[in-house]
């Protein structure tokens, strides 16, 4: 592990060093303000600018499609990115440096909830305006948030507790079907369940109940794995969890009342962007607190040496059980959101491929780290979308990238680092700038 080395940018030499020192003392708040300005610019000036430059439409994912598909338009896309994103963000962040530092300092004087809410509000504002441009962006973001939840919850088991659990898509499937049955049965007319039982106006309010219901079903399912985990671990537990995954998938395929292998559709459109965002934030918040609690430290103790942990009065059975059920709960909630984002689920979704995807995100981002999980989920899901124009070659490049990451950083990009909200939001002191 290296120390975080962001306090001495002056050590770096050259043009890059100069650039980093110019942008060093900017707090997260400053970058968020810059991003907000950029997306507002794109919202109002994007279309006229696109006409002027000669692009077809606004580059949806930072020009990834254009770079890979239409090389002739690369200069136009580069100009667009420069004018809309790079320059405004850089200018606003740099010019507002002392202002944002002072503001961040002021905010930190309030209880921690206030600055957190301000930051999240700004982040959501930027994301919302950014996603307003196209429905594709909205879908990408929603799936990204679901991926963050999944990755974090798998990291609790695979990273913090050190087991190799393969059952996550199974938990996700349980949650997805639990929540879908709840909402479809109560609020929508469907060929399997008939007319809605409750007035549809209640739906959005009871949607969280449905998600929690799905999560609870998933955590009940987790008992199947948690109880054998008292007696075995490592590879045998991996197989037990793998068997669980296949059992869940096969069971759903055989349950005719949820549609069998054809899947279940007709979920009402409750999972809009704010809902998914709020759930993702809740998930990050709760899991982060969980892994920093005594129980969370007990997970690390069980991972590093079970006998020693037991001797130091860690109740290993209770720890394992709680960790599995907790992680499964969040995987179930993520599954429920996933089902409502796509508004269709079928058992085939929750197979080995999903497993490989989630595992890749966890190990790419970094074990035992909330930062890592967020990084892994965001980067791999955005990369997956950005490389979409490459079609099949995407599945050469992404695995290759992962292999390289595994070879050079075997525990992932940002492993074993604590996520401290206070540290993230703090104003950054700089020698020439008072805070």
């Amino acid at each position: 592990m290296e120390e975080i080395n962001d306090t001495h940018p002056s050590k770096k030499k050259g043009a890059l060093g100069g650039l980093t020192s110019v942008f060093s003392g900017i707090p997260v708040l400053g970058w968020l303000l810059g991003a907000l300005v950029a997306v507002i610019l794109e919202h109002y000036l994007g279309d006229p600018l696109v006409d002027r430059i000669g692009l077809d439409k606004i580059p949806v994912l930072f020009g990834a499609v254009i770079i890979l598909k239409k090389p002739l338009m690369i200069p136009g896309a580069a100009v667009f990115l420069l004018l809309i994103y790079v320059i405004p963000i850089a200018v606003v962040a740099r010019a507002g440096k002392s202002f944002s530092n002072r503001l961040a300092g002021k905010l930190m004087e309030f209880p921690i909830a206030v600055p957190t809410l301000v930051h999240l509000g700004l982040l959501y504002g930027a994301i919302h305006i950014w996603s307003d441009v196209s429905a594709y962006r909205v879908l990408t973001l929603k799936l990204m948030f679901v991926a963050i939840m999944l990755t974090l919850s798998l990291n609790v088991i695979n990273g913090y507790m050190g087991e190799f659990s393969c059952s996550h898509p199974g938990f996700m499937a349980l949650g997805a079907y639990g929540a879908s049955v709840f909402t479809v049965l109560l609020f929508s007319s469907d060929r399997l369940f008939g007319d809605p039982l409750l007035p549809e106006a209640l739906g959005p309010f009871l949607f969280p109940v449905g998600l929690i219901f799905g999560g609870l079903i998933a955590s009940l399912g987790a008992l199947v794995i948690a109880i054998p985990s008292f007696r075995t671990r490592g590879d045998y537990l991996a197989i037990i969890s793998l068997a669980f995954l296949f059992i869940v998938k096969s069971m759903i395929e055989n349950l005719e009342f949820v549609g069998g292998p054809r899947g279940l559709s007709g979920q009402p459109n409750y999972a809009n962007l704010p809902t998914v965002f709020i759930w993702a934030v809740l998930c990050v918040w709760i899991i982060n607190n969980f892994v920093r609690s005594t129980l969370g430290k007990a997970l690390n103790a069980v991972r590093d040496d079970e006998v020693a942990a037991d001797a130091m009065t860690v109740n290993t059975r209770r720890t394992k059980m709680v960790a599995f059920m907790f992680a499964a709960f969040w995987a179930g909630v993520a599954g429920g959101l996933y089902a409502h984002v796509l508004r269709y689920v079928n058992p085939g979704t929750f197979g080995i491929q999903k497993l490989a995807e989630v595992l890749a995100m966890v190990y790419f981002g970094g074990l035992n780290s909330v930062y890592g999980s967020i990084t892994g989920a965001v980067s791999l899901s955005l990369l997956g979308e950005a490389l979409r124009p490459l079609e099949i070659f995407k599945w050469i490049i992404i695995p290759l990238l992962l292999i390289l990451v595994m070879i050079f950083r075997p525990t992932g990009l940002i492993a074993f680092r604590e996520f401290d909200v206070r540290k993230v939001m703090q104003p950054k002191s700089n020698s020439d700038d008072e805070v």
Binding site: N158, Y236, I240, A243, I247, E253, L359, F393
Partner: protein
């Protein structure tokens, strides 16, 4: 009773595929304590290499340049594909496993998974998303033994795979390389001190495992002559389950568990609707592991083992 024996024959054939693949997992596991998650896809690659070799030999034979009988082509196909596929295994070892030998074990599992995806995708890019059919090399002859129908292919498959398993057993027990493998499985730290080149042994293990997977792939192609790029996933994961079920790193256990896997699948499908096959098969395996968590021939769990 006739029905039972009929299914027994089918289960033997089906189980020999699983057993052959499970052996590859188990061998790599026993010496490196790592699972080669790309192994299912090496099975697929082996089947495709076998397809290529067999098609080439059939064409060569048809052109009259080298008139070979069908069984001769099959033997040549098996030998050539074993040779070629073992290189795939060695490359996988070099790229995905050797750099990660001292890393957390799960990282190597990820590289294995990713190499598997790359092999599938590479196959899709090279051959396109169509299924290919394995050329029929030997004439199918059906014998009626007291009402039980046995084809010569089934007998051939079971016999060939059993003889390869026996050969592997002899290799591991009787040769110097086999002894080195067993030594590595016994104590990974001391073995290099005794002058045993662990890299060579690891490479050899991957090569042998891949060669066995290639045999399984060709035999599969002979029995079910339709190959597709994703065939390795289903077989690979089930064989992986069998390898664990047999006990960690136990060759005997992997063989038995592979056959058991085949038996469970065939007999579940015989009694219940076939859609319930995976559900019941995996439930049985889950139960076995709950009551015997270290598999058939594995050592009991001690809390000191680390992932």
């Amino acid at each position: 009773m006739v029905f039972f024996f009929q299914n027994l024959i089918n289960a033997l054939q089906w189980g020999s595929f699983y057993a052959m693949i499970a052996l590859g997992y188990s061998m790599v596991y026993s010496i490196l304590m790592l699972f080669n998650f790309a192994h299912g896809d090496i099975f697929m690659v082996g089947a495709y290499i076998g397809f290529g070799v067999a098609t080439g030999l059939v064409a060569l034979s048809a052109s009259g340049f080298l008139a070979l009988p069908g069984w001769m082509i099959l033997v040549l196909t098996i030998l050539l594909s074993m040779f070629l596929t073992s290189f795939v295994g060695m490359i996988v070892e070099r790229v995905g496993y050797r750099p990660l030998r001292d890393a957390p074990r799960a990282s190597a599992a990820i590289t294995g998974l990713m190499i598997g995806i790359m092999l599938e995708t590479g196959n899709l890019i090279l051959l396109g998303a169509r299924r290919v059919s394995f050329p029929p090399l030997i004439e199918s002859v059906t014998y009626n033994v007291g009402g039980v129908f046995v084809t010569n292919k089934k007998i051939m498959i079971v016999l060939v795979s059993l003889s390869f398993m026996l050969a592997l057993h002899l290799f591991v027990q009787k040769t110097r390389y086999g002894m080195a493998m067993r030594a590595m499985a016994f104590d990974y730290v001391v073995v290099p001190l005794l002058g045993i080149p662990i890299n060579t042994i690891a490479r050899l293990t991957f090569a042998i495992g891949s060669a066995l997977a290639a045999v399984a792939g060709i035999l599969f192609g002979v029995a079910y002559p339709v190959l597709d790029p994703y065939m390795g996933i289903v077989f690979g994961w089930k064989a992986f389950v069998a390898a664990i079920l047999g006990g960690r790193g136990s060759i005997m256990g992997a063989t038995l568990a592979g056959f058991l896997m085949g038996f469970i699948e065939i007999f579940v499908a015989m009694v219940f609707p076939s859609t319930l096959r995976d559900l019941i098969a995996y439930s049985i395996i889950l139960l076995i592991l709950v009551f015997r968590p270290h598999g058939f021939f594995g050592e009991p769990y001690s809390a000191r083992l680390r992932l």
